[in-house]
Amino acid sequence: MADKTIDARGANCPIPILKAKKGIGEVPVGGTLEVLATDPGSAADFQAFARQTGHTLVEQGETAGVYRFVLKRASA
């Protein structure tokens, strides 16, 4: 169970990432943020987001066109 869930289904880039950027700051360090999105480009976007920010992309999957990402907040 994630500490916070953001439902960005139906929103195109850059909205899922902008919402995730805000949302990750609202979970405790070490906590997790779940993001649901339908934008096909979001898979690459969230990989880059995690790579660049240091947050860990602990889960990533796609079911029937819905992408699910779980980010673990880094300490910094």
Binding site: A11, N12, P14, Q52
Partner: protein, 367 residues
């Protein structure tokens, strides 16, 4: 090359239509597969400080400059006949139009080319965005906004020959102020600009280590070069209505594509630009189907609808004022080394950054 030119001269319209379609397919497929996105590149920078997609955009521009200038030097394409190297410098249109376009593309989910590839993957919201782009583009060219645009242009545009400058090509501008021939100064400026762009791209270890970004920049640049080669070979200065050389650009062609669909029975042969529009959709469709990513999508709510329509309208108006988009000016245009294209490029980026900040603030206020 002369044999190829003679072959194309037999049926230039057909070559432009079929060639444009194929180039569009290649472009749409590449953009869809590599996630090349000019708006996304600004989002990456503003949202989390990742410059790799922006560097891919810059690389595409550098590759396009090298190719276009080489083709011009080889006599394949008369770049001087293109719309970019005009005798007026519409600084207001390039800057304000570019700002409007950059701002709008953030709200519309991407630039015109990105929305074309979204249509190919089943996004009906992108289809609506393109319809609005096309309508507002025509409104700005010769419709209800046309007179206002015309007055602004005539009031602000600088007539370069009256100031001793032949065209807005960087070589011509430099020749006004420093000794040397326009052609020589153009070549020197081109080398320095390309060197600077490549240095900017490849000094980054992140970018050097990202094969997909490097590939996307190279491939998009090559699409633009192929467009120049085709339209250059098909150009006939003595034709009754010569078709100026051009390459990938998506604002006016999107509007023209809508007109073509509505006036098909008038016997209009799709031009190069219209063909690239349909090609980009087809290429993205092939990519989406081959990867199982084709899915119908539409607006999520009223706020989403308002955002997209607002952004698309700005792109239609701004794209016409600036004479192009993120592809048309910021890759194809700069490949001619026209000053206005570089101004538009900078304005689009500035507008995109500003739009991203505004969207971020608006989303924060929603929750």
């Amino acid at each position: 090359m002369a044999a190829l030119r003679d072959l194309i001269a037999l049926h230039p319209s057909a070559w432009l239509a079929i060639g444009g379609l194929l180039i569009g397919v290649m472009f749409g497929f590449i953009v869809s597969r590599t996630n090349f996105c000019t708006m996304g590149s600004i989002s990456d920078i503003v949202s989390f400080g990742d410059y790799r997609r922006f560097r891919a955009w810059v690389l595409a521009g550098a590759v396009a400059i090298i190719g276009a200038q080489a083709l011009a030097a080889a006599g394949v394409v008369p770049l001087a006949k293109s719309m970019y190297l005009g005798t007026t410098f519409n600084w207001f249109g390039h800057s304000v139009g570019g700002l409007m376009f950059g701002y709008g593309m953030v709200f519309a989910g991407g630039c015109a080319s990105r929305n074309l590839t979204r249509v190919g993957s089943g996004d009906l919201r992108a289809l609506m965005a393109l319809l609005v782009v096309g309508v507002f583009a025509y409104m700005t060219i010769g419709g209800i906004l046309g007179p206002l645009r015309d007055i602004i242009e005539r009031t602000t545009a600088i007539n370069l020959p009256t100031r001793g400058i032949a065209t807005q090509g960087i070589g011509d501008i430099l020749a006004r102020f420093v000794p040397g021939s326009p052609a020589g100064l153009n070549a020197l400026a081109g080398v320095l600009i390309v060197a600077g762009m490549l240095l900017y791209c490849f000094r980054s270890a992140d970018f050097r280590g990202s094969g997909s970004h490097i590939f996307s920049g190279l491939a998009v640049g090559l699409c633009v070069i192929t467009g120049w080669a085709l339209t250059g070979l098909a150009f006939d200065d003595l034709a009754e209505r010569p078709t100026a050389p051009i390459s990938l650009t998506f604002i006016r062609p999107t509007a023209d594509a809508l007109e073509w669909l509505q006036r098909f029975t008038a016997g209009m042969v799709p031009g190069f630009g219209v063909a690239t529009v349909f090609g980009a959709i087809l290429g993205a469709f092939l990519s989406a189907v081959s990867t199982g990513r084709f899915r119908l999508a539409t607006f999520s709510d009223v706020a989403d609808t308002k955002r997209v329509l607002f952004g698309a309208a700005l792109m239609g108006i701004g794209g016409v004022m600036a004479l192009g988009c993120t592809l048309g000016q910021a890759i194809t245009g700069i490949s001619t080394l026209a000053l206005g294209s570089f101004v538009t490029f900078a304005a689009i980026v500035a507008g995109g950054v500003f739009g991203m900040r505004r969207l971020e603030a608006a989303l924060a206020a929603e929750t």
